[in-house]
């Protein structure tokens, strides 16, 4: 096989995203990363929830599943456990991931199942036309918050760090090259990786300008093995650092754990079990 090109992974369906939507860049970066890693298309499965960003799997020519709102992590976990040889990518939005689906992240982290979770965070509910999301800053005015939001935004990376996710990074749709590189590393990471992509919604909450100003690469010399320093950097909400905050490659993945369990479990058969139940 010749080395694949990014376009080989492009699906037959044209993305339905608005022109300029940050998610286009994420799609490009994912296709490039897949090509760079030369992953066979049939060995890739992309799972998602519901939202603009969650339409993602339809735009790739791989296995895909467009599930229900907020359940992408259990869904993707099921795929990875069911088919350990498959590279599983979970994608979705900030609403899907941090609002209705927020309860699943700590448990994916506990399992350290080997999947790459890309959250396209636009700090808004794009699909349902512009309601505030858990990462919307305080005071955002919308039809659903006519007097401004009254809640403080969440800090997804700090949360991921507190869950001890084993690979944590932040990207920006304005920087496709850097994003591609991080995706490559995340895809290679053995375990659960969570990448927050600042991916503006040009239609309901255009933050390109803002992010161009406040984003900046992680300080040179940041050691991704140092969780406390990662926490400090994540706590900085003025500057939004881009790059790999944290990485721990030494933990067993969930599939490895299962191998150990299977080795531990005493061999048996159905007949043997019935035998043991005999009076």
């Amino acid at each position: 096989m010749t080395k694949p090109k990014a376009n080989d992974y492009r699906g037959d369906v044209k993305p339905i995203w608005c022109p300029g939507c940050g998610d286009h860049a994420v799609l490009t970066a994912v296709m490039r990363a897949l090509a760079q890693l030369e992953l066979p298309r049939e060995k890739i499965a992309v799972a998602s929830g519901i939202g603009c960003s969650s339409r993602f799997p339809a735009f790739l020519k791989t296995y895909g599943i467009h599930g229900i709102h907020g359940r992408v992590l259990p869904l993707a976990t099921g795929i990875k456990l069911g088919s350990p040889e498959t590279t599983v990518i979970a994608v979705g939005g900030d609403g899907d991931g941090f609002s209705i689906g927020g309860g699943h992240i700590p448990h994916a982290a506990r399992r350290n199942v080997d999947l790459t979770y890309i959250v396209m965070d636009n700090s808004i509910y794009g699909m349902t036309k512009g309601q505030p999301s858990p990462t919307s800053p305080e005071g955002v005015v919308s039809r659903a918050s006519p007097y401004g939001t009254q809640e403080r935004p969440l800090n997804p990376l700090l949360m991921a760090l507190s869950y001890d996710v084993s690979f944590i990074a932040r990207c920006f749709s304005g920087k496709v090259r850097e994003m591609t590189e991080i995706f490559v590393q995340a895809l290679q990471h053995p375990g659960f990786s969570l990448i927050q992509v600042l991916s503006p919604c040009v239609t309901f909450y255009n933050t390109y300008g803002h992010y161009n100003e406040v984003t900046q690469p992680l300080p040179e010399g940041h050691d991704p093995g140092d969780r406390l320093s990662a926490i400090q950097l994540a706590m900085n909400t003025e500057t939004q650092y881009l790059g790999i905050f944290y990485r721990d490659e030494d933990r067993p993945t969930y599939n490895q754990r299962f191998e150990a369990v299977q080795a531990l479990a005493p061999e048996t058969t159905l007949d043997a079990i019935f035998e043991s139940l005999k009076r």
């Binding site: 890739i44 020519k61 467009h66 869904l75 099921g78 456990l81 069911g82």
Partner: protein, 621 residues
């Protein structure tokens, strides 16, 4: 004691914390190992530890089908046991009780055992239940060595207390032997040969059925009374190359199972009412994206948290209709412990072949009961597998959701080259891509629904779709579902013995209903009784609706016997309801025809003899 039908009901009651359940469980096992057929049932208290609990086991020489009604023997571990249980005893019942329990001796036979004193003497206060176990062993003339072996095996994880318990057991046995040397009034003749039987719980039957069906993925969240099935799978799945995950909630459970199934696994989840409510959305996804999935729902009494440890059949409507939009599924209803095994296998066959969610409805009573069962044979025609695309189809223009006559389209999974597709929760076209045009939507709705029709045709051939017994063509029928079958079985047997002709049918697929079998059943009926364990009579309403044409044409009357108290039917309750139905029909006939039809003779005779057909407990009469 010659009649093979003889059974004895032993009820053991006491504090949950003082080993009541252990006592019941061990006694049951020892009796089974001695060659008796057994059938047990237990209630739990609302308290976490302690609280009054009850374990009932029925021993028989032939196969036993229910836990029985009034008890013949009560083992009263504490005073509360007498207070709560004495009204549920047959006349001249034997009361084996701790010496300090006050038992008025009028209509019962008391057998005090100073269990607490003996235990204290042994400096093993916790051994009270083993003293009583020993006494029971003597009363039923069970072999002390058999008993000791079993205790050794069951208690092997508690070596620190094993010897003390064995000592208590022996002391109890000897004490009873010395104090009550005469034959025990309710002892059964032990058979000479011990036939091959397994001692199976409904919960384990489902776990083993899953293994037999090739299940290799389980995701679930603990919930009473579904947890034991989950725990058995936790133990066995790894040895079968399967994976077991205890997840964070029921949404995760069903979605993780869906993911694994998408990846090619045979996936299962199990839950109870509140969990099923939470899984409703996921069920719709499996139905829409055509992903095989088996969901075991072990019913408990609702609504809401309800009575979490008590039984019910109240989730039928939710299983049939739960989901927004029209989302096809199958619903199966096993009707015995052994049937739990087979229906779980069939559930996988249906799920995999028809790429749809399948709900299997068990309940607390059936899951927690233990019964002696012959080894199950091979399942019929299965387990079936998925339809997969041919190499030509994969090489060509593979359509995951291709429109076909059967509604079934070939399914691939990650790893299969050329089989890449999108599984979609949105309405989609034959490739799986979103398609919201009006025509496509209606066509796809039809495709998905067609699969149920295809299955209906196949199922018509299956042994699995219903169980029918009794007097073929009798004018009176009983129609029920699920765990109440044992009680109905006993009722038909008893009626038959009394010369009253009754026929019964238990459908095993509630969606789709085995219409042919049921219409055939109804075709000879004048009236049917529909007993069920829920408040609104969900099954009866469904039957009434589905067959209203047939029912009306032949003027078949439906009598619903509903019960929603958290406990199973007593045989007597269904027996009485049946006689009342027939009596009611007699009156109608009388009114219409001015004379009494012969078929009612027996019933009237019975009615006159007993007034309200009361008290007719197993071994007591």
């Amino acid at each position: 004691m010659e009649q093979p039908d003889a059974t004895v009901v032993v009820r053991i009651a006491g504090e949950g914390g003082e080993g009541t359940i252990t006592l019941g469980d061990l006694f049951t096992r020892i009796a089974a190992c001695s060659g008796l057929e057994i059938y047990s049932f237990r209630t739990y208290s609302a308290e976490i530890r302690g609280g009054q609990v009850m374990y009932q086991t029925r021993l028989g020489i032939d196969r036993v089908m229910t836990e029985g009604d009034e008890a013949n023997v009560l083992v009263a571990m504490n005073q509360q046991a007498w207070i709560e249980e004495h009204e549920d005893l047959c006349k001249n019942a034997a009361i084996i009780h701790d010496a300090h329990v006050q038992v008025p001796n009028d209509s019962h036979q008391g057998f005090p055992i100073p269990a607490e004193a003996i235990a204290q003497e042994l400096e093993w206060a916790r051994g009270k239940n083993f003293v009583l176990l020993g006494a029971l062993g003597w009363f039923f003339r069970l072999d002390l060595d058999v008993a000791a072996d079993l205790v050794r095996q069951q208690m092997r994880h508690h070596p620190e207390s094993l010897e003390k318990n064995l000592a208590a057991l022996r002391r109890g046995y000897t004490f009873a032997q010395q104090t009550y040397p005469e034959p025990f009034p309710f002892a059964l003749d032990l058979p000479d040969t011990v036939e091959e039987r397994i001692l199976l719980s409904g919960a384990d039957a489902m776990a083993l059925g899953a293994l037999a069906a090739g299940c290799d993925f389980y995701a679930g969240y603990p919930i009473t009374p579904a947890t034991p099935t989950m725990e058995s799978l936790a133990r066995y799945l790894p040895a079968f190359g399967g994976k077991y995950v205890q997840v964070e909630d029921e949404m995760a459970a069903i979605n993780m199972a869906i993911g694994a199934s998408f990846a090619g696994r045979r996936a299962l989840t199990a839950t109870s009412g509140p969990g099923l409510s939470l899984m409703t959305e996921g069920l719709g996804l499996a139905s829409m994206a055509e992903i095989p999935l088996v969901l075991i729902n072990v019913q408990r009494a609702g609504p809401s948290t309800g009575l979490p440890t008590k039984t019910s059949q109240g989730d039928l409507f939710l299983s049939l209709y739960g989901g927004h939009g029209d989302a096809p599924r199958f619903v199966l209803a096993p009707d015995s412990v052994k049937d739990c095994y087979f229906k779980t296998i069939y559930a996988f066959s249906l799920a995999e072949r028809y790429q749809m969610p399948v709900i299997v409805l068990s309940d607390q009573a059936m899951a927690s009961r233990q019964a002696t069962t012959p080894l199950p044979g091979e399942p019929w025609n299965g387990p079936l597998a998925r339809l997969t695309p041919t190499p030509e189809e994969l090489a060509g223009d593979y359509q995951r959701y291709a429109f076909t006559d059967t509604g079934l389209s070939p399914m691939t999974h990650p790893g299969v080259p050329g089989g890449m597709y999108l599984a979609e929760s949105l309405e989609h076209n034959a490739y799986g891509y979103p398609d919201q045009t009006p025509g496509n939507h209606e066509q796809m709705m039809r495709k998905r629904a067609r699969k149920v029709e295809t299955a209906r045709e196949m199922l018509a051939d299956w042994r699995m779709t219903s169980r029918r017994w009794g007097d073929r063509g009798a004018p009176f029928g009983i129609m029920g579902w699920g765990s109440t079958r044992g009680a109905v079985r006993e009722v038909t047997k008893r009626l038959q013995a009394q010369g009253i002709h009754v026929e019964a049918i238990y459908p095993h697929t509630l969606l789709p209903m085995p219409d042919q079998a049921i219409v055939d059943f109804l075709s000879t009926k004048r009236a049917i009784l529909v007993p069920e364990l829920n408040f609104s009579g969900q099954f009866g309403r469904m039957v009434e609706h589905r067959y209203y044409k047939e029912l009306d044409e032949r003027n078949v009357h439906i009598y619903q016997r509903k019960k929603e108290q958290g406990v199973p039917f007593k045989v007597r309750e269904i027996y009485e309801a049946t006689l009342e139905m027939i009596d009611e029909e007699r009156k109608l006939w009388n009114k219409e025809h001015g004379e009494i039809a012969r078929i009612f003779d027996t019933v009237q005779r019975l009615g006159e003899a007993s007034g309200t057909f009361e008290k007719d407990g197993g071994h007591c009469d």
